[in-house]
Symmetry: C2
Subunit: 688 residues, 2 copies
């Protein structure tokens, strides 16, 4: 879940309990408002159309979306969705992030470590089974019973077919529905083509979430099985005609997280605690990384991917916070909560079933604020971006959890999830000791700062060492070696206990404390909140019907809308940029510096070709790489960003100003043929 989080949500929020609205919604494929689309755009979204799009829509384990665009398993996504892959494949001598990557022959396509592609095949409703399992439970017992039922459902759903399928229970409407999503999975995904980072992300962080924009943010990967490209007859066709202002468009992808159904008190916790803490942590880490990258070209290279992802998240969260501090937003949310509460109260049976769900959530906010720092620093973000810590924790916990029955394990370690975790732990990826030391030192310093010097947690996680000394010691871990990780994975607890590796020993010594904080959190926060949210969701269905869309949960959704600009503070912003504008915006200084190929390309590409464009689709982080599709089901581009107004879309959609930003299919083909010398790939796309 990388880019564009979808803003000025105040008006929309006031309407958020009504079903029909302007081009809003991240719709599930089994509840798409086809009649609304027909009425507004005259387009028939038939079951066949939905099946066609679903069958070509891809979810990537890098947190992105994508689509199959040829019959030979070729997948379109964003450059920033393969940035981590390109970094992993690079060396001090060969930098695919900086210079881009072009395979003109199949044999040059390269495996992306840790990446899995998934295509949704079927959806089934498992709500009664999941809710029944936890119906009489509270606190952590509620969480464990629900998660246990989910683990069982997932295991059964793919029984005997685990090698080719992944089953995942998707929570919708905050527990109002649980659906089993069955995915065909592809764990051999290879990089085919990616432009230079400076071309894909021209304008860098300053232009991020802005428009007009000149970013060639595409890439291609290909699905393989048994070392051969997968045949994919169900693919989207590549449209060679340019996008048209006003034409209806659809976005199929996996929006990561929206929080439009949270109560007002939950939004206040976000505003007062979670988001500010995150922004401050990210700001300091950003400063450390920028200064680290000033220490030479190789340091800049190894810091690049982390810095990109951090700055992108920072800007997205900043936009969310800006929306939340508008007093009108929280006030509108209070009004919405109160309206639903009043309707529930007016129905005695519903009131009895719902109980004081809002009050329970409000009460849990006190615990959430109190436990947030400890939970974040010891558990949910422990290690703060250190790969070595991540490997060690996964190895230790996988060994511990595999010894338990499937339904009693921590989420992430159940049978249905172990295959992907194993791939992510064991695939070879570079580890940079200097960067590890920086991340670990930062984490340990913040742990001491937030939890205070004299707390038992700081004494356990730091002992008498300083963060600097301990980080230096832990960064010497041998877990950078995939063979060592393989031995520890296969060897289970016996191998883990026998290991002399400093990071393994460190995680063994501290993990019980991390699990204890998690237990507190589940008992006092997750349990009460999730249990109350389920009841609010059921009350919402009872009062308003089930015609609305659920919050985003990194699962497949379809958004409809049209290609359109918007009015920004009284000024019209046109929906298109064209290639000619790229050379006008270039300054010669990063991040407005053209890659060498593009400095020389001004006469080669057609300046009139539409480069990037905006539409009013309702999208958010996780939609990166999603195909944007015309009424005939052909792909006309790939979503890669939202405008700055869209960032508050986490809390509500404002159709006047929320815009999605795509790179056009015509610009991609033009670049492949005229700049990257990859006619073979362009031909594959356009069917020549």
């Amino acid at each position: 879940m990388r880019k564009f989080l979808a803003a000025a949500p105040v008006l929309a929020l006031a309407l958020a309990t009504l079903a029909a609205r302007a081009d809003e919604g991240m719709w599930t494929f089994d509840n798409f408002p086809a009649a609304q689309v027909k009425a507004k755009y005259g387009v028939d979204v038939t079951p066949a159309f939905l099946d066609h799009v679903r069958g070509a829509a891809v979810r990537l384990s890098s947190g992105c979306s994508a689509s199959v665009v040829t019959a030979s398993g070729l997948v379109l996504t964003n450059n920033h969705c393969v940035r981590d892959c390109a970094q992993s494949l690079s060396t001090p001598q060969t930098d695919y992030v900086k210079d881009g990557f072009q395979a003109t022959r199949r044999e040059d396509e390269k495996l992306c470590p840790g990446m899995q592609a998934e295509i949704l095949e079927a959806i089934s409703d498992v709500t009664p089974r999941v809710t029944a399992a936890a119906a009489d439970k509270t606190g952590q017992d509620f969480v464990r019973a629900r998660d246990g039922a989910i683990a069982a459902v997932e295991k059964e759903g793919c029984a005997g077919q685990e090698a080719l399928y992944r089953c995942q229970v998707i929570t919708l409407y905050q527990g109002g529905q649980y659906k089993l999503y069955r995915y065909r999975k592809y764990s051999d995904v290879r990089l085919v083509a990616a432009p230079e980072a400076q071309t894909a992300f021209f304008g860098g962080d300053p232009d991020n979430f802005n428009f007009p924009r000149y970013d060639l943010d595409f890439s291609f990967v290909r699905l393989y099985e048994k070392n051969r490209a997968v045949a994919t007859p169900d693919h989207l066709t590549w449209r060679t005609a340019p996008p048209r202002d006003g034409e209806p468009v659809f976005v199929a992808g996996n929006p990561g997280t929206t929080q439009r159904l949270l109560t007002a008190e939950q939004l206040e916790t976000l505003r007062d605690k979670s988001l500010p803490t995150t922004l401050i942590l990210y700001a300091e880490l950003r400063g450390r990384l920028i200064q680290f990258a000033h220490g030479g070209a190789e340091r800049a290279r190894i810091a690049d991917d982390l810095l990109f992802s951090l700055e992108n998240s920072f800007k997205a969260y900043s936009g969310q916070q800006k929306a939340l501090v508008d007093p009108a937003l929280i006030a509108a949310k209070h009004r919405g909560d109160n309206e639903l509460k009043a309707k529930v109260a007016a129905n005695p049976a519903l009131a009895a079933a719902t109980g004081d769900a809002w009050g329970e959530i409000a009460q849990a906010q006190v615990a959430q604020r109190e436990l947030y720092d400890a939970y974040t620093l010891q558990e949910s973000r422990a290690g703060l971006r250190s790969s070595l810590f991540g490997y060690a924790r996964a190895l230790v916990r996988a060994a511990q959890e595999r010894a338990k029955p499937n339904s009693e394990r921590l989420p992430g370690y159940t049978d249905s999830q172990l295959a992907l975790l194993e791939k992510q732990v064991l695939d070879a990826e570079p580890v940079y000791p200097e960067l590890e030391q920086l991340a670990l030192e930062f984490w340990l310093t913040k742990l001491r700062e937030y939890l205070t010097v004299d707390s038992p947690a700081t004494k356990l996680f730091l002992g008498k060492e300083s963060p600097e000394a301990l980080a230096a010691r832990l960064a010497k871990s041998g877990l950078a070696d995939p063979a060592m990780r393989r031995r520890l994975w296969d060897g289970g607890m016996a191998a883990i206990n026998a290991s002399g590796d400093p990071m393994i020993k460190y995680v063994l010594a501290t993990d019980a404390a991390s699990r204890a904080v998690r237990k507190d959190w589940e008992t006092r926060v997750t349990g009460p909140v999730d249990r109350a949210q389920e009841r609010i969701a059921r009350a919402r269905f009872a009062v308003y019907g089930a015609g609305d869309y659920p919050d985003a949960t990194f699962s497949l959704r379809l958004s409809y809308g049209k290609i359109t600009g918007w009015v920004n503070n009284g000024t019209s912003v046109a929906p298109f940029t064209r290639y000619a504008g790229l050379w006008q915006r270039a300054t010669g200084f990063a991040p407005f510096e053209l890659a060498p190929r593009w400095r020389d390309a001004q006469g080669k590409v057609d300046g009139n070709v539409i480069f990037d464009f905006t539409s009013d689709n309702d999208i958010i982080g996780g939609n990166s790489g999603s195909p944007i599709i015309d009424a005939q089901g052909a792909v006309i581009g790939a979503i890669f960003d939202g405008n700055i107004d869209s960032l508050g879309g986490a809390f509500g959609f404002d159709p006047r100003v929320n815009r999605a930003v795509s790179v056009s299919a015509v610009a991609i083909a033009e670049a492949l043929r005229k700049v990257y010398g990859n006619a073979a790939l362009a031909d594959e796309l356009t069917g020549r």
Copy 2:
């Protein structure tokens, strides 16, 4: 104004409009509640006592407080108040910050660049004159008329005596009173003694604002005139008996800023905009500086002072924000505002005079949020800690402003303020080009980020250059040379216009834009707010009387209270630490590493001597270095911090948990004699 900002203000706020309270208040010397103190502690605070204390209380232009403690101009303050001085006197070979400084002979005492000491001699009321000048004005005209009257009053007040005196109009009760404070000034202040930074600031940032504490945070400077130590018969005596639990104590010093009289809407602006933005900016700069300091011992040395000050401010602001996000605080403030509004409304004459002052302030908050980024980045914090930018702006503006009549100049450039400004610009201080480049690059990057790439401001301040390239160019400015600054100061606009220096040219090219943003700010924010605050202040006097204390304004105040610990989450915290605890807390790793002298001192000093102690005096940043004085007028220590609970004291005082932290006079004398080999200084203090 460095350390300890005074927290859990909710209860106190609810009472904030009542006159008499537990040990609360930063009282002016002309309105001290002697009767209250007599009733509570049995101590007679006579006019003679007040005169004695006032005559020995020192304000330092480094933003600290201090006191004269011997007849030969010897002044006690904190080590962190001379940290900047010690850094300025250091070289790569001789590091007085790290190793400390001890002069055992007068001739070894060294001038602190830019430092001025001031002792208050007289207070007179100039309210009618200042308010009359602006009575019929609004917006920026109000600001200019008021500031013009202040400039005239200050100039007249010290006419003919400018060499020895400084006159300053102090705004009290947010414009309810304007008082002329007349100070005897000393511009030759020399460093006498300071411990190692690691001893003064043992525990570093992690222990900052915490207690129990083991910080020897003292230093001594001496006042000189005509190259001789100033005779100071009016000094505090040094008490050789240890502090006693429960004894009444007084703190005379210059608390910097409190905001207890702000309206609820103003606090919301702080919570939603000013403080979060500041925290995020400081966090990133902190990250950059920490990583910069990892680049070697000399980089660590030159970054030290800036990093210390940044981390201290960051922690203080974090504590303020923590107080503000407690919903009870803003709710209590709304109740207080509404109570006063209701009382005003009940009195037709008062209602007519007050008008809709609260509404005007609320309206100005919209403008404040809108203009904050531009005002901060182009004007109030332009250059973000770059000395070269600071010099250039002062030189350019001083040349421009001196050409205008005194009453029409920008604040800071009036006749009464030019002498200190000149000293600060022209005194020799080291400038570190690498650090300059870091600060300038950071500033320009943030300007582009916050104001956006395509804004006219970014285009003016950055042109087509990148922040990195422009910062590197500007860091080559020759303004590090005091002789060059002297030529430009003396040469006025002709010299400025003729200068080829890149930083001078840069400020000349951008200053009109900065002044334009300032004009907007004064027109839409400062003017309406200050004008409304004056009326609210008068209404408050009319309703509640004039018996309360004003918000802190870095002017001399007296706080009373007692030596006492507190109860922290159910656990009693004793008011004293003793030397023996220092060795118990040491770990061998910074910031818990002992200086070499102290590693060896365990058998030399008496482990029972009281080291640091807490009292319930109402203090805040700017009180650093203040003498803490017993009922007989003898000094028993120096304030150097507040506890963590005290940080929200910016908005209200909670007598249950707000504590001031001092280093004891007995610990200082013990250290001088037994560790620092400075018996001469100890003898001078104790009168042996």
